[in-house]
């Protein structure tokens, strides 16, 4: 029989143990919390944010809401002609955007997809100020002087009658507030008067509480010349008549896009799904495959060069081994740029290696070897720079292989080659695995050395990513290329785990 007390007692003991365990766990978590938070803030969040840009595309629909909404229902093909109403929406969108200079940002965004849109938007943003909106402002404010004050517009915007005016005014105000440009003294922009006039004209026939406004303004408005937006836009730039331009705006209206990824794979977003780019524009697949090929080659070269060195170091008496290890480590303590520049001096056409080869008569002066500004240059320089990352893991693994195993094999009748192949080599595989992964992953994302010695055929995908981040400002495409690179590395890591097994990797 179990007494009630003992049950309570055991339960409370159980609880106590649990509580103290929980406290221990919390304490342990507390200890790693700083590191965890640091990694989250400085690593995971920024990288996630950057990768997110590869699909993000809100700008177009945010800045051109009316235009993109109208375009949604349009079927754009070669014979399609942009209707008048579309230009009216475009005018309102551009007028609001131009107040805070957002139109040029959309222009450069869309210019990545279709050349020419950047200046189209820049020009149009400038020319819409000359579309005659100031005449509307003058005529309307002559009748109702209060229209110059922002308070009057606030009242107008509260009313429900002029819906388009209200929405436009609010959108305009929101942009100015975002830009810290809005105060009670702000003057309403000229284009707002056109919008208001348009609203009054289209609703003027029905009786309404705003009759005073209408009575006063309608006669003036009907006398004002009508603004022919389509003509004016086409006068600014005839590209506005091209279906291609509108097609691009329509294709890039959704808030998220796969366009950057398609570009990274040498495809192009078309109205009937992805299309392969013309041959003279295909670039990224070639560079990706080249990056992989060079990284594998560099890893192999490092392995071939590093294995004997590590073997030699591991079998030297400790006194000498340390000395030689310093020679291996020495490049680590020299600046990367210095080492790369040194290779330039050695490898160039008039460089040391070619001079020596010519001097000893191995090659003639006219057939100097092309060792730099191509793939050879990148592979030579990077193999040298990454070699320590291969030697060190190999060395530390080989140190742990006891010499008696090989001796035992030999005493049992194995030739030196068999003893190496069947006994020594299998035991050094964890070092090969670790070294190869290190070298491969480091080289696949290398930037500075290929930039300096790679010329045109020896550059890596990271050089293109850097170009898009710092020069063309096409961060979306840069992010897409970066995500693909990351995915490729993770996929290769997975394959490696399957084939070799990640448990087989040892750093020492």
């Amino acid at each position: 029989m179990v007494s009630v007390d003992s049950i309570i007692g055991r339960n409370s003991l159980h609880r106590k143990v649990q509580r103290s365990l929980r406290i221990q766990k919390l304490r342990a978590l507390g200890l790693i919390a700083p590191l965890f938070i640091f990694i989250l803030i400085s690593f995971v969040i920024p990288i996630g944010d950057m990768l997110f840009r590869s699909i993000e595309n809100q700008l177009v629909s945010e800045v051109l809401p009316r235009t993109t909404e109208y375009l949604k229902s349009e079927q754009i093909n070669e014979d399609w002609e942009p209707p008048n109403e579309l230009f009216w929406h475009l005018y309102v969108d551009l007028a609001i955007a131009a107040e805070v200079k957002l139109h040029t940002r959309v222009g450069s965004r869309l210019n990545y997809e279709k050349t020419g849109i950047s200046s189209l938007f820049r020009k149009s943003g400038r020319s819409i100020k000359r579309f005659g909106a100031d005449d509307y402002r003058k005529a309307l404010t002559d009748q109702i002087p209060e229209l110059t004050s922002i308070d009057y517009w606030e009242l107008l915007a509260e009313g429900t009658k002029y819906g388009y005016t209200r929405d436009t005014y609010n959108a305009w105000k929101k942009r100015l507030i975002e830009n810290d440009d809005f105060s009670e003294k702000t003057k309403p922009s000229d284009f707002l008067f056109v919008v208001l006039a348009n609203d009054i004209k289209s609703s003027g026939t029905t009786p309404s509480p705003d009759t005073i406004l209408e009575e006063k303004l309608l006669p003036v408005i009907s006398e004002l010349p009508e603004i022919r937006f389509k003509e004016l836009f086409l006068e600014t730039d005839e590209d506005w008549a091209e279906p291609d331009v509108w097609d691009t705006i329509q294709l890039y209206s959704p808030s998220f896009t796969n366009g950057y990824y398609l570009n990274s794979a040498d495809f192009k977003k078309g109205s009937d799904g992805p299309e392969l780019r013309p041959e003279n524009e295909r670039l990224y697949v070639l560079i990706f495959s080249r990056t992989l090929f060079m990284s594998v080659t560099i890893t192999m070269v490092c392995l071939l060069l590093g294995y004997p060195v590590a073997y030699f170091l591991a079998n030297l008496p400790l006194k000498y081994a340390n000395l030689f290890l310093i020679l291996v480590l020495l490049p680590f303590w020299t600046s990367l740029l210095v080492r790369t520049s040194a290779w330039k001096v050695l490898l160039q056409n008039e460089g040391v290696i070619n001079d020596v080869l010519v001097a000893i008569g191995l090659i003639s002066n006219l057939e100097r070897l092309e060792l730099i500004n191509n793939q050879t240059g990148t592979i030579i320089a990077m193999s040298h720079i990454l070699l320590p990352f291969m030697i060190l893991p190999l060395f530390s693994v080989m140190k742990t292989i006891h010499p008696s195993y090989v001796r035992a094999a030999k005493s049992l009748g194995a030739t030196p080659w068999t003893a190496f192949r069947r006994v020594y080599f299998p035991q050094s595989i964890p070092g090969i695995g670790a070294g190869s992964i290190l070298v491969f992953i480091l080289s696949i994302g290398y930037y500075i050395t290929p930039e300096l010695v790679g010329g045109t055929t020896g550059t890596f995908i990271s050089n293109r990513i850097a170009y898009h981040i710092s020069s063309s400002l096409n961060w979306g495409l840069g992010a897409a290329l970066g995500s693909i690179l990351l995915a490729v590395v993770l996929a290769l890591y997975w394959v490696y785990d399957r084939v070799v097994g990640i448990d087989n990797v040892k750093l020492g």
Binding site: K101, T115, G116, I117, S118, N280, L283, L286, T456, L473
Partner: protein, 366 residues
């Protein structure tokens, strides 16, 4: 008692320190000899006149566009004035990262009263751009090449002539300038070049012309590459900025000559980032007004062979500060040099840069 005195003293010191608080301005430029010329001609004289302003130099202009954008996203603007090439200025202006300025309002007129906008003329390529210098990208060649049999190139198209002038060339690793030169040497008239380049056939035609020398070209991406390669004999013919050639020929005394034919005129200038607080903006405007007046722009030419962007400064260009050579004949705009100038179309390139760069890189990689 003692304590009160001490604290009054400390408080007093703090107040004094605050009232004369210096403004730090971070001015971003390209580094090297160019930054030095700006420091000598603009920044040091300005700080002498305004002891409360302290100018901090930053050499990040080559990544200005990306950094300014990152600063906006982080909401922390640490730069006050940035030296930029027009193509970057246009991009920054489009992105809303550079401030639009009215040059007549913020800059000094010429000494004879000509308004700044007229004095600067064609160099005002964007609403955000405040020009400083005119430089040119042009070709240079070694004068001691044996296989040239004593001939010297005198035409830009000689760079495509591998028979008369064999040897390696160096050209910039970007489409800009190269495509223009290629079309020019393929028989397109100077004024038609951008119209031709707009078409697919025109672009292929330019690349086909470059194909004829592709195997003999080493592509540079840093302005120092060509001078270095010319000095090493790695190339015999190559393009770079005229100031780099000046340093190579006059300072390093290398056997190299400049070929001024079809030199491409380019500008360099300031942009003011958007979103500066009022006190810093006021100080920056003071600095810009001072640094772009007629005398200061002429002073800069004492230290580097780049021409002043103002017409009125040209007459004031004197001798080099240390070498003592007359600088006027080394300016890209000097009549002896500017006999055949190619004007770079910035607006056009702002549109076509991304597209043509992709095509050019694809051409290079294949």
């Amino acid at each position: 008692m003692k304590l009160t005195k001490l604290s009054t003293l400390v408080l007093g010191c703090i107040i004094i320190a605050n009232s004369s608080q210096a403004i730090d301005l971070t001015v971003v430029s390209w580094g090297g000899a160019y930054s030095k010329s700006q420091i000598n001609a603009y920044h040091n004289p300005f700080m002498e006149l305004n002891p409360d302003v302290n100018i901090i130099h930053d050499e990040s202009s080559y990544e200005a566009v990306a950094k300014l954008r990152a600063m906006r996203e982080a909401g922390n603007l640490t730069w006050d004035l940035v030296d930029a090439v027009p193509s970057d200025a246009i991009r920054l202006c489009d992105e809303g990262l550079a401030m639009e300025v009215d040059v007549d309002e913020i800059l000094e007129p010429a000494p004879d009263g000509t308004p700044a906008s007229e004095d600067f003329g064609a160099s005002l390529v964007s609403e955000c751009f405040i020009p400083q210098i005119v430089y040119s990208t042009t070709l240079g060649f070694r004068t001691d090449v044996e296989s040239w049999n004593g001939n010297e190139p005198d035409d830009v198209c000689d760079v495509f002539d591998l028979e008369s002038f064999p040897g390696k060339r160096s050209l910039e690793k970007r489409p800009i300038n190269n495509l223009e030169w290629a079309l020019l040497c393929d028989g397109v008239a100077k004024e038609d070049i951008y119209d031709v380049l707009e078409t697919e056939e025109g672009q292929n035609r330019a690349l086909a012309k470059l194909d004829t020398i592709k195997d003999e070209v080493i592509w540079w991406s840093a302005g120092a590459d060509t001078p270095q390669w010319l000095a090493d004999g790695e190339v015999v013919f190559g393009s770079t900025y005229n100031g780099r050639f000046f340093a190579l020929i006059e300072e390093a005394k290398q056997p190299v000559k400049i070929l001024w034919d079809a030199q491409v005129f380019e500008y360099d200038g300031w942009i003011i980032p958007t979103g500066l607080p009022e006190d810093r903006l006021a100080a920056v405007l003071d600095l810009v007004r001072f640094a772009t007046d007629t005398q200061r722009l002429a002073d800069q030419a004492k230290y580097i062979s780049y021409g002043p962007a103002r017409t009125s400064s040209n007459a004031l260009v004197g001798e080099h500060a240390t070498l003592g050579i007359d600088m006027a004949p080394h300016m890209p705009g000097h009549p002896d040099n500017a006999y055949n100038v190619f004007y770079f179309n910035y607006d056009w390139w702002a549109d076509y840069r991304d597209d043509l760069d992709a095509k050019f890189q694809a051409w290079l990689a294949n």
